[in-house]
Point group: C2
Chain length 457, copies 2
């Protein structure tokens, strides 16, 4: 893909190297580099920026032609944009900020210290300031925060021809014109049509005959859930209304894609037991990586002390049969894996809306059955296998333990994410990392109880 001469991954790597090494970006070098940057594809330019240290990236942005630098800046994540703020200098910063759509401005403001945020807000002209304040007014996590308040709209009583004229007048003001809300005199949303339909119909046909019953969201609707509707319904944009169904804004599909990708990044990070970085990995300072992991790691390690005390309680059994300790990692590992499989599946289904809170019992029942089957298969396999090498009684102990642990782990792993959702926690955090800890401790108790019974120690 390219919007200029095709560049190979290697070309880009070389350019990147050059940009890193050109320590001065001396006048001569600067000109050469800005020419070079002017000739590469936008996507390659963005890729390079995402891999540069903030100061260097800011320098490069300032070397670019204004329009191109604005487009490039817009393409970066809000947190990454915030990293560049200090190095950008007021002129470029305010011009970038001014060029952003109101909803993207708000995302950036959320990442900035109050005083900088206020300074930037003051730099806006009155109308832009007003639009941005509106968006800032909606709570985080609501779709209102991601909408563009500058929407195209046509009155329901117009003809297709008149509607097209109206859209041409609105053209400079609005972000998109392809999905066209149809409204009454008092701005109530009564339908949705599209530039395509208006254009193809043309002439005297009435807008009211060219519109569908509107698909819309309320400003307070949850952003991720709303964004995921775009896929099922193949929407390009979604009108947003207030409590009296007055049109107040529109969410475009690129906003929806941003919301979904951010949500998926967060789930991915948290299910791995860390906090999302919100910026490209290679440009994230090491201390930020540490910060994103240390808390969970510490919490999990401390809660792992639970397993220490469990084993402490069974020290006599361990002393009596040291062989039992050989299988501790096998049991905790298998239990953890079974629990994580269930938790990951259910967490994802919750995110996609396939599973709702009210499905708790259905999910639990399915996972219990899955656990029973998995437990039977693994229990039989390892019961026989370890029975051969360590004697029948050990085989029985391990077989039974794995059977019980798998069933328990799958059930708990399936229900945990839903419990998390009910108590308002993030299923992705609450489930995977914690299940391991819980299943480890519970599994060991089960293991030693079975062992003491079977081995009679």
């Amino acid at each position: 893909m390219t919007d200029h001469a095709q560049r190979t991954d290697e070309d880009i790597a070389r350019l990147e190297q050059m940009l890193r090494e050109d320590t001065e970006l001396a006048p001569g070098g600067a000109r050469r580099i800005s020419e070079l940057l002017g000739t590469i594809a936008l996507k390659d330019l963005i890729h390079v920026l995402e891999r540069m240290p903030s100061v260097r990236a800011a320098l490069i942005l300032r070397l670019l032609p204004r329009q191109r630098s604005i487009v490039a800046f817009e393409a970066l994540d809000a947190a990454h944009q915030a990293d560049l703020v200090d190095a950008l200098g007021d002129d470029s910063l305010t011009s970038f900020f001014d060029a952003l759509d109101p909803d993207d401005r708000v995302s950036l403001l959320d990442e900035l210290p109050a005083e900088i945020a206020e300074r930037l807000m003051r730099s806006l002209d009155e109308s832009e300031h007003g639009l941005t304040s509106v968006i800032l007014g909606y709570p985080k996590g609501s779709i209102g925060r991601h909408m563009s308040p500058e929407v195209p709209m046509v009155r329901v009583e117009l003809t297709a021809a008149q509607a097209l004229e109206a859209l041409k007048e609105q053209n400079d003001r609005v972000e998109t014109v392809y999905t066209v809300p149809v409204v009454t005199a008092d701005r109530k949303l009564v339908g949705v049509t599209s530039l395509r339909r208006l254009l193809m119909a043309g002439g005297e046909e009435g807008v009211d005959t060219l519109m569908d019953t509107p698909v819309y969201a309320h400003t307070g609707d949850p952003d991720e859930e709303t964004a995921r509707w775009f896929r099922a319904l193949d929407l390009l944009a979604l009108p947003v209304v207030d409590d009296s169904t007055r049109l107040v804004g529109m969410v475009s599909i690129d906003d929806a894609v941003d919301i979904i990708e951010d949500a998926d990044n967060e789930d991915s990070a948290r299910s791995g037991g860390s906090e999302p970085l919100q910026r490209p990995y290679l440009t994230t300072p090491v201390w930020k990586l540490v910060r994103s992991r240390i808390v969970w790691l510490g919490v999990l390690a401390v809660s792992a002390l639970l397993t220490v005390s469990v084993l402490d309680a069974f020290e006599d059994a361990l002393a009596a049969a040291v062989v039992l300790s050989l299988f501790i990692p096998l049991i905790t590992g298998t239990g953890g894996n079974t629990g994580n499989q269930a938790a990951t599946t259910v967490t994802r289904s919750l995110a996609l809306g396939d599973v709702r809170k009210r499905d708790a019992l259905a999910v639990m029942w399915r996972e219990t059955r899955v656990g029973l089957i998995l437990g039977t298969l693994l229990g039989a396999l390892f019961g026989v296998l370890l029975g051969i090498f360590y004697g029948a009684s050990i085989g029985i102990v391990l077989g039974l333990t794995l059977f019980v642990v798998c069933t328990l782990a799958a059930t708990v792993g399936g229900i945990m994410p839903i419990i998390a959702k009910v108590v308002g926690a993030d299923p992705a955090v609450f489930s995977n990392p914690f299940i391991t800890t819980f299943v480890d401790a519970a599994g060991l108790v089960i293991y030693f109880l079975i062992a003491k019974t079977v081995l009679g120690i």
Copy 2:
């Protein structure tokens, strides 16, 4: 959100219940239900279908008005569509299949047994059959397989007015008209314009003055990587060309969203140690859930035997100091968590394109530093903590072990996904589940070597 009277989650739950229970869907009931289904929002209808057993979902589809049933069927995942095929009956099936876009048809065919696939292909008229065969010709995983071969296009020598006329003529044939490729007489792509620009310019202005240098993909480009360009570049559609840059198709953003979501589903499932379901959780038969997990679970459990043999080798040390066994889960757990944190972060960065193969060393170096810091912090914390409760020497052993294990785990966890990518495996599978096993075994070896030295056993 609604395209009819607003429905609460509860209303939908009730309707769903009714549809499950109405065992006969008797003529009277059928009419009542189809009326009811006609009045709920499309997104609610799709949600209900996604939660129904296949046979029931197929029945419901056949009760819907033709157009609505087609839209609903199109909204389902290909694998889910395939589940319905048997229950649908030939008439509805062929009409659904005929209504799909060529690329969606191909996705469905990929999920079907050969003979059914062939029968469906034969049911298409010549032109549709031709278009579908073209898509089928491109390898899986290539963007060519997701493109629509019916693209709008305008000749570069036209005026805006002529271009609009040309688009009106193409309207019935093409999927989208908003992004408009500009081509030469021999169909070479020379630019991209948009319906918006043509309309707003209008009149005698030349298309060549209204177009940008084209952003395009080649038919063979990898689908996920290509799909992710849409976000950075805010694209609505992307022209696809052959090796001689002739325009052969276009990928629309809803295709891109499908590709990204499927890729994220797959990564999410695999990082949790299971295979993606490709269909809504609640409608997936239990045996399919088991099948999606048993293989990985088995592989991981068998590889966990490695830890058994490690412990077996150190049985003497364990016998000499049973207390050592108390900390086995703490060490394996912490190592596993540290490794998974690194692996998850890097896997995601690979998926997003932030990290490339060539970054292997940079990633490794960052993760080693992160691991050293995390290891120092945890090692100090637990060295002191356990030193207090179990004596200084145990404290020293645990502190040192955690320090080494964290450093190792982070380094391995960071590099594993890249190795996976280099050898052509899926980073998500290769990393998280396997790291646990590796780190468990390695961590235990380190633990006992340190213990033997410090405790002199």
